[in-house]
Amino acid sequence: MDKNIYDMGKIDIAWCPGCGNFSILKTLKETLTGLGLVPSDVVLVSGIGQAAKIPHYLKCNFLNGLHGRALPVATGIKAANPQITVIAQSGDGDMYGEGGNHFMHTIRRNPDITNIVHNNMVYGLTKEQASPTSQPGFITPVQTHGVFEEPFNPVAVAIALNASFVARAFAGDRDQTSEIMGKAIRHRGYALVDILQPCVSFNKLNTHRWFKDNSYYLDDSHDQSDRMEAFRRATKPGDFPLGVLYVNSDRTPFEESLPAYLNNRDPLYTRQLNKEKLADLIMSRT
């Protein structure tokens, strides 16, 4: 396959120089190419924020919708046409703040989509405010005395909700991130990839160095099917585990459980109405 199949050529990119988004974009393109997926088979769904602009920077189908609402849109797409590879990708504010309710319920629903979250622990596009994942003590023009709320822990929440695939990556490590992304996309069911990412413009606390010092890769001894162990590691303070934390292969994807697909696997757009059945239904109301 053409290695540049996802490249847009020379385009104007709205990210700051040195932003972690660039390496995530490159990793995503390489991962999709490596999986043998062509752009017309892939839909990227995003919300609002700097991370959410990513669909504009690679060749693909996309729906760049509202702030926080990528997951219901992605679920709707997958349920309408299960043959499409659907990736919902946005930042921490979008997915965990504005879209927090959808985050929980999408995990429950378990559509076969990949949820990639650029987690830089700060709001960038709105120019430096705390995000749900900001660390205590983080000072911003709004949180003038420092953040005092407990940070949102997306991987722990996902494990608590028995998500079918939970992983965490670091944007600075492209090879490992690509491997994790590939596993997530191939996984049958909802897959979360929370990507720790420095924000060079607005987050001087959680820098590249800070992430390196406060994270570690899970080794082969980690049992991905052990939910309690995954939760213990996800919740251990000050130490972010990287890699695939938890996999539950027993869960059936949302769209495979829908009665609409019990006797017919075709995408909805190909189907025809059976008018005789409709006539029978209406005539049953005499």
Partner: protein
């Protein structure tokens, strides 16, 4: 004492009253179908409190020799199942009203005919059969076909044990015998003619009409959050999910509902959401998204009185302006307001086709009264409806938002063709990518707004009933159509007609012509401020001096409307 159907009285009105949990709805289900299948025209509606048990609810059933489709105040036969019903319905009881029921349970202050429903039920085996006895009693009074009655009782209780089915059959028979005995003794005298054609007609309520229309329009996706009075559409489609291949998802909130439906349309489904005012308010940002990315969208909005939680189980036409102005920014939309069962079926079907053709959100406005009301209709026009798909197979150079004369860019979906399908909530260029270019922005706004003309090129016209030459024109929209029509007939004036709008937005150009021909316009609305009258003033040259408004939570009745319109004309 007698409920005579003398000259001019072609129908009688039966009211059942009781608290939630007493089973008056079971009586309604059985009675409406048994009487219709026996050859009567039937109209049935209910009003109920927002609670699972207790309170005081009532059901009105009109039994007629010709089609009736509007509520009346008058009560000819009242069957109260508790004392509260007598108190609550006091103002509607007239000297001619026949009250039938358990005298010991009711301790009434007025004359009534004693039928010991409870004791009969206990003789059958259990007091819980009292409501079935009552259904039998009324079937007997109206001399329903007993074979039909027994068959339907079996059908209705078919999921219960054989013992329960048999007890109900005995109960309904005993009730029937008691009803016949009342007639034979002369205590009650009823003579409404049967019309054999009614027996084979459909008995469909508003919730079913909208759901069947959705299926006829190719709906194969519904994402919604339960909210009275809109939920019946969700349950009706859910009941058909496997049969018709409909994806049904009860979502976490209405924000998810609208966004999921938009995602589904993007990938080629024909999706809808059903909700009421509060849920619709939550959907507004999503509706604006549909406007911007030019996504088709169908939302059924079953209105109830607001603001906020308002009166959850009551009726109002208070959300026209909510639908009209929903969503930030400027973008076209279509609003339909069905006036009867056939129209609800037809317009819901059409909503999917128009949403797809014009790539705009389409709203179907009904209300609690409409959802909970049914009457027999000859048929729903299956052959006259159909699914018009407007999808294109994309080529490699496909541009989703190509500028066109009528504002409509051919719509592709991912996975159908070689092109890429893009959509952005930001302002975008023809390829769907973010832009802040002023000329592109202006061109895109113009393109989107041009679709209003495209919508108007094929509008649903207002429906005139009554004389072509009129001085007075009574104007309505949505569920008030039958009550306005019957009230106008009752006025018996050759100079008064009524005009009903199934499409309230954009206002069809024909509206001005109809309105300008009248000397006096009276707009009838189930709201407090005359929202449709205001829309007519904006959209036409019409001078509207008179409105008849009701916002108590209850629908208009024929008598009430006759009195109010008479004061004006």
């Amino acid at each position: 004492m007698s409920a005579k159907s003398g000259p001019g009285r072609k129908d009688i009105s039966i009211v059942l009253g009781g608290e939630a949990g007493q089973g008056i709805q079971t009586i309604e289900f059985i009675l409406a179908r048994v009487l219709k299948r026996s050859g009567y025209h039937i109209f049935s509606t209910k009003e109920y409190m927002s609670r699972i048990r207790g309170g005081s609810n009532s059901i009105l059933i009109r039994v007629s020799s010709q089609q009736v489709s509007a509520p009346v105040d008058r009560i000819d036969i009242l069957v109260p199942l508790d004392h509260k019903a007598l108190i609550r319905l006091e103002s509607r009881i007239n000297p001619e009203t026949v009250i039938v029921g358990d005298i010991t349970a009711l301790s009434p202050e007025r004359d009534m005919i004693d039928v010991p429903l409870q004791r009969i039920a206990e003789e059958v085996g259990d007091g819980i059969y009292a409501n079935t006895v009552a259904a039998g009693l009324l079937s007997g009074i109206l001399e329903a076909d007993t074979a039909v009655m027994i068959d339907y009782t079996k059908e209705f209780f078919s999921r219960k044990s054989i013992d329960i089915v048999n007890h109900n059959i005995t109960a309904i028979r005993k009730g029937y015998e008691a009803g016949r005995a009342l007639c034979k003794s002369g205590k009650i005298s009823i003579s409404v003619n049967k019309d054999p054609s009614a027996a084979h007609e459909l008995l469909v309520n508003g919730g079913e009409a909208v759901a069947f229309g959705a299926i006829a329009g190719g709906c194969n996706f519904i994402s919604s959050y339960p909210m009275s009075p809109s939920t019946a559409v969700l349950t009706n489609l859910s009941a058909q999910d496997e049969q018709f291949g409909i994806v049904v998802e009860q979502v976490e909130d209405e924000i998810s509902a609208v966004n999921m439906a938009i995602g589904a349309w993007y990938a080629g489904a024909r999706a809808m959401a059903t909700t009421s005012g509060g849920g619709f308010a939550l959907m507004e940002e999503g509706i604006s998204l549909a406007g911007m990315i030019e996504s088709p969208l169908v939302v059924h909005l079953a209105q109830r009185p607001g603001p906020a939680t308002g009166l959850p189980t009551r009726t109002e036409q208070g959300d026209l302006e909510l639908a009209l102005y929903a969503g930030h920014g400027e973008f076209p939309r279509i609003i339909y307001a069905p006036g009867n069962t056939e129209e609800a079926y037809f317009l819901t079907q059409r909503a999917f086709n128009e949403a797809d053709r014009c790539q705009v959100p389409v709203f179907i406005l009904t209300d609690q009264y409409f959802m909970d009301t049914y009457y027999n209709v000859p048929a729903l026009d299956i052959d006259g409806t159909g699914i018009m798909k407007h999808l294109v197979q994309t080529d490699p150079d496909y541009r989703r938002y190509i500028l066109t004369e009528n504002g409509i860019s051919p719509r592709g979906i991912p996975g159908f063709g070689e092109g890429l399908v893009t959509a952005d909530s930001d302002e975008h260029d023809e390829e769907g990518h973010i832009t802040e270019d002023e000329s592109v922005r202006t061109a895109m706004v113009d393109k989107r707004l041009r679709k209003t003309e495209t919508i108007l090129a094929d509008s649903v016209l207002p429906v005139l009933t009554g004389p072509d030459q009129y001085q007075n024109l009574i104007v309505g929209w949505g569920s008030t159509r039958p009550v306005i029509t019957e009230a106008t007939e009752k006025l018996e004036r050759g100079d008064t007609a009524c005009l009903h709008f199934p499409q309230v937005y954009p206002l069809p150009p024909a509206a001005s012509e109809f309105l300008s021909r009248a000397e006096k316009l009276i707009v009838v609305e189930n709201n407090a401020t005359g929202q449709f009258a205001r829309l007519l003033r904006i959209g036409t040259d019409a001078r509207i001096d008179n409105t008849v408004l009701k916002y108590s939570g209850m629908p208009f009745t024929v008598e009430e409307l006759v009195a109010k319109v008479s004061e004006i004309i």
